[in-house]
Symmetry: C2
Subunit: 320 residues, 2 copies
């Protein structure tokens, strides 16, 4: 099996060019299609071996899929209905098998194909561990943006889907024989593992936002994605809007492990109540989870105003 | 002195936001300005500690400057007259001093300011070594592109400036007391070190191309930058055009160490002879170095058709 050490950079790039449009890797930089009067959006995210994924629990296909999905999810969280393309900087040790790298790009390519998005270009470099830095570009009509700070008091908090599935999937992969999860159905286990290994950027939720906009509501959507966990996205949203997110347990179950699981890549939105009702009716799996309060403050329970229980979200650099 | 381990990701990002426009880091992705009917160009490059730079010979300021310059140079090599902005994915160990990271962004920022370019956004992550992956976006009129494959037989090969200075600078930094370089003037030494630590993307050479275009010549410019060495850029150009680059020693000195030094970030162009003469007259330091031959082939000397001496260019993954 060929290793990168046997190939060198140029040959590796030639090998990888089959994952992009013909000629796309032939110049010093990649071309984007000419554009109409739309707002361009660009997002960058890195995944590092041993930090964002482990070769033990994450197959190469899923490393690529997840890296691309994380970036595209950021574009959806800005209101893009689709992504134009991505660039990929890959750094990896010389002993990395070519097949592993090709499987990474295979996963990446499969996610891109699902969303009609192009691999535009990139860079390959040696490094002591695998790092994948992806930049994604999208377009959005300037008056259809989703911004974190657009929420107002009385807005409903809405999620595009359930939280915690991806975290459960990781737990199942790390401890397949854990008695704590042995009672779960096989179909739920498979769904959780799939949610972890092949998350879906919610462009469909953005489309549902467009379709569910009431005639009486001008476009005003606050939102972010829950890539760092539901609690973190509520914090970001609440801080940016200056209104305290208040979670209503009557609206649905919210186990603590749903708050900090992370990597669910759902949209977390604050909407006019009328729009929120339409949206939840429009999009299967979407759910109202609470309200934006009158004043600033950290996310709390609506019933007793107590802050959410302290979580275990991942912090980079702190040696979790 | 604060270390990243004490800050965590969010606080680091907050610290780094002062290097970008106000509010630029506030959302899930960064916005590009709305655009006219121009071709967008995007380029990605990664720099890895121990591979592209060593903390011993490269001050943090220069790590940032060079990483940004390398990306902007790719945009110039596509014909962009300027860059719009860049995103940066930074990965670094928890024990990295904050001051080091701020100096990196300081260097990056200084280069961007020089070229009126914005830091648009990015991502920070922990990793066992420092990696800086940069993506740059630029615009160019679709009929003013520089493409590697645009050269024709009889075109003159032109460089925007001298080669080897950056390599000499690195040598001086690695062995300041080397007898082989002790005879060089102090001003040359300083120029070489500056060329290595603070290379300049040659947008000015693109402007000179526009200014020197003869009325009789339609726009047709073949080119690339010499980031991987002059020999490598001649290979890329020759292969893409299907014409053998032939170097004319009578046109100027070309020591072997000028061929493979790398990281000079000059433009290497193939132009109509009339245009080439105008261009060299227009741009101080620019020089004709040879011709494109009738047939395909590797770079050779014009005088005896012998291939250039085998080089020592850097190959990723191969454990140089």
């Amino acid at each position: 099996m060929a290793e990168l050490a046997e190939l060198g950079e140029a040959e590796l790039i030639a090998k990888l060019s089959c994952f992009a449009a013909a000629g796309q890797f032939d110049d010093d930089a990649a071309l984007l299609a000419p554009d109409q009067q739309l707002q361009r959006v660009i997002s960058t995210d890195a995944m590092v071996e041993g930090v964002h994924f482990s070769a033990n629990t994450t197959p190469a296909f899923s490393v690529g899929w997840r890296a691309a999905a994380a970036n595209l999810s950021d574009l959806a969280a800005m209101g893009c209905l689709e992504a134009e393309g991505i660039t990929v900087a890959l750094a990896a040790p010389g002993h990395t098998p070519l097949a592993w790298v090709e499987a990474v790009y295979g996963g990446l390519s499969a996610l891109l194909k699902r969303h009609n998005c192009q691999l535009l270009g990139g860079d390959c470099s040696s490094a002591p561990v695998v790092m994948l830095a992806i930049t994604a570009i999208g377009k959005v009509a300037a008056d259809r943006l989703i911004r974190r700070g657009a929420g107002r008091a009385g807005d409903r908090l809405v999620v595009s889907g359930p939280h915690g599935l991806s975290g459960l999937g990781l737990q199942l992969l790390q401890n397949p024989n854990d008695p704590a999860t042995s009672h779960l159905s096989e179909s739920l286990k498979q769904a959780a593992i799939k949610a972890h290994q092949q998350p879906i950027p919610r462009f469909d939720a953005v489309a549902a936002l467009h379709q569910s906009q009431p005639a009486a509501c001008p476009w005003r959507v606050a939102g972010t994605d829950s890539s760092d966990g539901l609690r973190r996205s509520l914090e970001l949203l609440g801080n940016a809007c200056g209104h305290q997110p208040m979670l209503d347990l009557n609206m649905g179950p919210l186990e603590p492990w749903c708050l900090d699981g992370g990597e669910d890549f759902e949209l977390v939105l604050a909407l006019d109540p009328l729009w929120a009702d339409n949206f939840v009716a429009q999009l299967p799996g979407a759910q109202c989870i609470g309200w934006l309060g009158d004043k600033p403050g950290p996310p709390c329970w609506l019933s007793n105003k107590k802050p959410l229980p302290v979580g275990r979200g991942y912090e980079h650099f702190k040696g979790n």
